[in-house]
Structure formats: structure tokens, C-alpha cells
Subunit: 213 residues, 2 copies
């Protein structure tokens, strides 16, 4: 399996964690978003959307981290990254999508670029914009995690799931920008618990930079 990757991509970070949790061996092709290699003709044949990440598994080419991780979950059953009960599956997918649909898309580089290039906002305004959406999204996660007895050592019970796979990269991104998590005890606690696990450590952007391909 080939992962089209960029160490600073929050969504690629998600896929790296999922592959590591499943113990899947994969080859990495690094794209540099500064150089826009993700807009090259070769890459557009793999992913016509031109966004990172994507995977190639033989003739199967998949874009979008959510679709990639569901594919990995169906292909490699152990360890399960979704609970077996319908209610639990829905809760975990809902938490994943809270990050993937309602938080992260507003904080991407292409949105910050648009803000700055449209003369709406200075670089500092773009940072404030990102922090506002990160805080709103992560506070939403905190409320759900705090209010529900299904929350355990991790977002759902005591095993990592799709919800943690979404949470950790988003928290990393928020901390990098200087967001304070003092009023998010569950988010902070689960972030730390995840980073104790080798699958999360190995996927971490810092590991990718210190061990470049």
C-alpha cells in the first residue's frame, strides 16, 4: 500500500495512525504542499481532487481520510477501530465527523491562503480565525466526551477508535497554534493517553521530520 503523505497534513496524520494501529506496512510518497506536487499531472491521476492524503492499494485509489480509514477498517479487521454495536459505531463516527467535517476544513492552509489573498484578513487575522474554529470544535468534543459514560480512557471506551484518530491530529494542530486546553480536561487527558501509544507516536509529524523518507 502506498500513502501519499505530507507530514504537516492533519488528515494524512489520521491515516498514518490508522495504518499503524492496524499494523499495516506501507510505503510513503511525500508531497510538499509548498511545492504543490499534489497538483502534478501524475498525482491528479491518483486523486483528481489534488488533495493529500490518498492511498494506492493495487488498483484501488482512494482520496479523503474518512473514506480511506473506513476502507482500512473493512480490509484489516483487527484491532477494530469502530465498536461492534450500532450505537457505539454511530457515536464514534459522529465524533470523527465533528472534527473532519466541522472543525478541520475551516483551518486548512487553502482556507488561510484564501483569506489572506482576498484581502479579507492579515496573517494574524487568519491565525485568529483558525484558533476560533479550533476552539469551537474542540469545545464541542469536550462537551460530548464529558457528558457521556461511553467515554473511557479513550474517546470511546478503553481502546482507540476513529474518534481518537481524528482528535489527536486536531489537538496537535491547535497546540501548535497556541490554543490553551485548560478548560478541556477530557480532550487533554485523551490526547496524552493516545500519545503513549507507539502507533500515534510513529505517526506524529515530529517523527516524520526526524525520520524523513
Amino acid at each position: 500500500m502506498i500513502l501519499h503523505d505530507y507530514y504537516r497534513s492533519t488528515s494524512a496524520f489520521r491515516v498514518r495512525i490508522a495504518l499503524n494501529l492496524k499494523g499495516v506496512e506501507y510505503e510513503t510518497k511525500i508531497h510538499d504542499l509548498d511545492q504543490q506536487t499534489n497538483r502534478s499531472e501524475d498525482y491528479l491521476k491518483v486523486n483528481a481532487f489534488g488533495l493529500i492524503p490518498a492511498i494506492e492499494d493495487g488498483e484501488v485509489h482512494i482520496a479523503q481520510s474518512g473514506a480511506i480509514i473506513e476502507y482500512i477498517e473493512e480490509k484489516f479487521s483487527h484491532p477494530a477501530l469502530l465498536p461492534s454495536d450500532p450505537k457505539g459505531r454511530a457515536r464514534v463516527r459522529s465524533l470523527f465527523n465533528q472534527v473532519a467535517c466541522d472543525t478541520h476544513p475551516l483551518t486548512t492552509r487553502r482556507v488561510a491562503n484564501y483569506l489572506q489573498h482576498s484581502n479579507y484578513a492579515t496573517e494574524n487575522d487568519a491565525r485568529t480565525w483558525k484558533l476560533a474554529w479550533l476552539r469551537e470544535g474542540l469545545m464541542g468534543m469536550e462537551k460530548v466526551l464529558a457528558s457521556d459514560f461511553c467515554t473511557g480512557e479513550f474517546c470511546h471506551g478503553d481502546q482507540p477508535s476513529l474518534a481518537d484518530i481524528a482528535l489527536v491530529p486536531q489537538v496537535y494542530s491547535a497546540l501548535s497554534l497556541g490554543l490553551q486546553l485548560d478548560d478541556m480536561p477530557n480532550v487533554s487527558r485523551i490526547y496524552s493517553a493516545c500519545l503513549e501509544l507507539p502507533a500515534f507516536q510513529k505517526a506524529h509529524p515530529d517523527s516524520c521530520v526526524s525520520n524523513p523518507h
Copy 2:
């Protein structure tokens, strides 16, 4: 099953289509985003994120349209809204997420409000912003649909799937804002094909307005 709904919500439109395609009977509770009933204490007990849509199925409460539709797909198997083969499932989920993660979140009311209330942009700038992201997202869909022999009468083969469920509300929203689809023949054709089906017609915002609950 109870759907917390708002006729103008693009993501609630998706859930209405999925329920109709499956032939599931459901009760609707309408929220008026102008009145912010989605921020009421009662609703926050159902969905701590405070966003529309959500469903209640007995004790199962689910937020996020993607999580809701996967739940519906697993609970009501016929007609399938995901293909049975892994490659097809991945393609359909990828198309769904292209809309749900990379297009729609940038065009929501809360983002337009933020833009205008932060003095970044006038009402007209906010419209331009929405049109730019809608065009980029739908052009991405067009490229994938045009380049792949899996595209049929609908986004994937000749049966409606999650991909069409995402596409139709997004196209409706784009057309309402005045986006031209002349250079998107596949998107236009599939949009029209879907609107021939009663499940899509009944879910349409115009039907909701003419048949208020």
C-alpha cells in the same frame, strides 16, 4: 425515528434523502436556525454540538449527517446506498466526503456569519466566498465523475448512493446562489436524474416549505 431538521440545512437534506430512499418512516422536529432553537437546552441534550441534523432512534442519538447515514445504511439494508465491493464503497465514501468535508463546511451560515461579523467581508464578499468554494468543490466532483468509468446514470453506476445524497443538496445550494454549471455536464446530468426520483423530490427544501409540519 425522529429527525431534527431544518429545511434549508444542506446536511439535513442529505439525511431526508437517505431516509426516503430506504423507505423509513420518520417524525420531523423542525428547528429554525434564525431562532437558534438548535442551541436550546433540550436540543443540546440530544446533540451537544448544537448543529442540525440529528436523529433520535429510541435511546440512540446521532449527530453528523455522515454518521447518521452510515447508521441508517447498517440498520436498513435495502436498497443499499453503498456498493458491495471494497473499491466501490471507497469511491462512494470519497465522493460523499469531498462534499461533506471539503466543500459544504466552508459554505455554511455560521461561516458566513463569522466572515461578516469579523469585518472581514461584506455580505457580497461572503456570497463570493461561498461561490468560490462551491465551484472548486463541484469542479472536483466533475473531474472525478468525468474521468471514471464507474460513473453511470448516477455518481456510481445506475443506482443512487451516498455520493448522490451528498451531491444533490450541494448542487441545489450552488444553484440557489447563482452558480453556473455549464462546464459541469456530469454534475448537471446526475443532479437532474436524481430529481426524477420521488425520494429526492420529497426531501427537497421546496417540498418541505410547501408541506410544513
